[in-house]
């Protein structure tokens, strides 16, 4: 699985959690916070992505991600 695949998984879960993003064209530089995800939404997105990737890792490992691309990179590094 490459980085783009991981990013696509994050995008899918973001659409599931944050209302109104169905047609939005996501970029690596997008911030979940700026897209309307509160702290609980962001933790839900990360957990859903971890489950989709069957990746058991503490949530704190992903707290430093500044945008969706960085989150994808951190997740991809643990695969």
């Amino acid at each position: 699985m490459n980085l783009e695949d991981v990013f696509a998984i994050i995008v899918g879960h973001t659409r599931e959690v944050v209302p109104g993003l169905d047609d939005y064209a996501f970029q690596f530089t997008d911030s979940l916070r700026e897209l309307g995800a509160n702290s609980i939404d962001r933790s839900e997105v990360v957990m859903l992505a971890l489950e989709s990737l069957s990746l058991k890792a503490p949530m704190i490992d992903f707290a430093r991600a500044e945008n969706m691309g960085e989150l994808a990179t951190l997740l991809h590094a643990k695969l």
């Binding site: 209302p19 933790s43 839900e44 957990m47 971890l50 489950e51 058991k56 949530m59």
Partner: protein, 412 residues
């Protein structure tokens, strides 16, 4: 007594969701037509796994087929809401609109949610799904498993800022919420108080425990679910669950913006000092007399009774004994549970609403499956609705743990 405490208290808005209909008009029509939706329950988490890994025969109940959510609730928001919270929002929206609360100062509006342990089915599903992979449990589970999540969800959606709490009284929770809402308005804590009897979302674990306890109906009618729910009938053998939720808006009569449904004339609570599920004649007579006394009414003034009537073998007999002891054997009587099942935490509220909708219609709904009443000396409404203008009614609830409540209503 302070003047505000003696001011008449009325119901100025109603919201209701049950298996037979969503919304007060659909619900009233279905009640008066004697409709029901009793069948083998299909909602995930209510099927009892058999010991061989297959699925055992389902419990009988009445489930809400299709919930219409208000436009104000974004579809995407629903993923984090329990079934109880979704039904609460839809029900509350109707009551809110009906009572025209948009113009009321939100700091003067309160919410009392009746019930506890609402989300047992979702807990069972969550525990089954994540039993072997707890690392992936949703962070939001930490919010939704709490009963007070309903307070948070409803107060956030409607902007309620005056008060939002839950009150637990087992199967009397709905009436307990109504009584606490009355007290909140009388005391001046808020000007308007919404009382909500929340949907208690049972899983098969609770169904099995209720059945083992002898409270829930047996498999006797497994192949004829339409016959299973039969309060006050000689062939009853326990309650049949029904998904339901009801909400009323309580305020002083002088503040109501529309013709009220009814005046809440008298109310009473009494405890039996008994943890067990068995009924108490003493406790039930105490609340009937207490509600009448507070209303300043004699038993003769009550022309309709909506009893608790779970179809429990001992409970129904005790309730009729209490009504007879209080001189209420001449009032008309029917059983709302025979149509919608037992909503547990919602039951007392849904029945209170059924009383007011019958008052409004000038008709009393039928009692289903009352083929052979355990006491034919009462004025039962049988298999068909009857015309009757209710002037003053009594509604009763009882719950495990020895709680009894009664509320007396008068037509506005």
């Amino acid at each position: 007594m302070h003047a505000a405490e003696s001011a008449p208290i009325v119901v100025s808005g109603i919201g209701v969701t049950a298996s037979i209909g969503q919304g007060r008009r659909a619900f009233a029509d279905a009640l008066l037509a004697g409709e029901h939706r009793f069948a083998a329950m299909r909602r995930p988490g209510r099927q009892k796994p058999a010991s061989d890994g297959d699925v055992a025969p389902a419990f009988i109940g009445a489930e809400i087929a299709d919930l219409r959510m208000p436009d104000a609730v974004a579809a995407a928001k629903l993923r984090n809401l329990s079934w109880s919270a979704q039904v609460a929002l839809a029900t509350l929206q109707e009551a809110w609109d009906d009572a025209e609360l948009d113009d009321v100062d939100p700091r003067r509006i309160g919410l009392i949610v009746g019930g506890s342990n609402f989300q047992q089915r979702e807990l069972a599903l969550t525990q089954a799904k994540y039993q072997h992979q707890p690392e992936f449990l949703r962070p939001t589970h930490a919010m939704t498993f709490m009963d007070t999540d309903l307070c948070g969800v409803c107060s956030e959606t409607f902007g309620i800022r005056g008060l939002a709490i839950t009150v637990g009284g087992a199967s009397a929770s709905g009436q307990l919420a109504a009584i606490q809402a009355i007290e909140a308005v009388r005391s001046g804590q808020v000007d308007v108080c919404i009382a909500l009897g929340a949907l208690m979302d049972l899983s098969y674990f609770e169904c099995q425990a209720f059945r083992s306890l002898g409270a829930m109906g047996s498999d006797r009618y497994a192949h004829q679910p339409e016959l299973a729910c039969r309060p006050f009938d000689r062939d009853r053998d326990g309650f049949i669950f029904g998904e339901a939720c009801g909400a009323i808006v309580v305020r002083r009569a002088a503040d109501a913006t529309r013709t009220p449904y009814a005046e809440l004339k008298g109310w009473a609570m009494a405890w039996d000092a008994n943890r067990n599920p068995n009924p108490s004649l003493e406790g039930e007579t105490a609340v009937i007399r207490g509600a009448l006394a507070r209303a300043g009414l004699s038993a003769d003034a009550i022309d309709y009774v909506n009893p608790h009537g779970t179809a429990s073998v001992v409970g129904d007999e005790t309730e009729l004994a209490a009504l007879r002891a209080c001189g209420l054997d001449r009032a008309h009587l029917n059983s709302t549970k025979s149509l919608v099942g037992h909503g547990l935490s919602a039951a007392g509220m849904v029945e209170l609403i059924a009383v007011m909708l019958q008052m409004q219609a000038g008709r009393l709904h039928p009692s289903r499956n009352l083929d052979s009443p355990i006491d034919a000396g009462f004025r039962w409404v049988g298999a068909t609705a009857i015309d009757h203008v209710v002037e003053r009614a009594l509604n009763m609830s009882m719950g495990f743990g020895g709680i009894n409540t009664a509320i007396c209503l008068q037509r506005s």
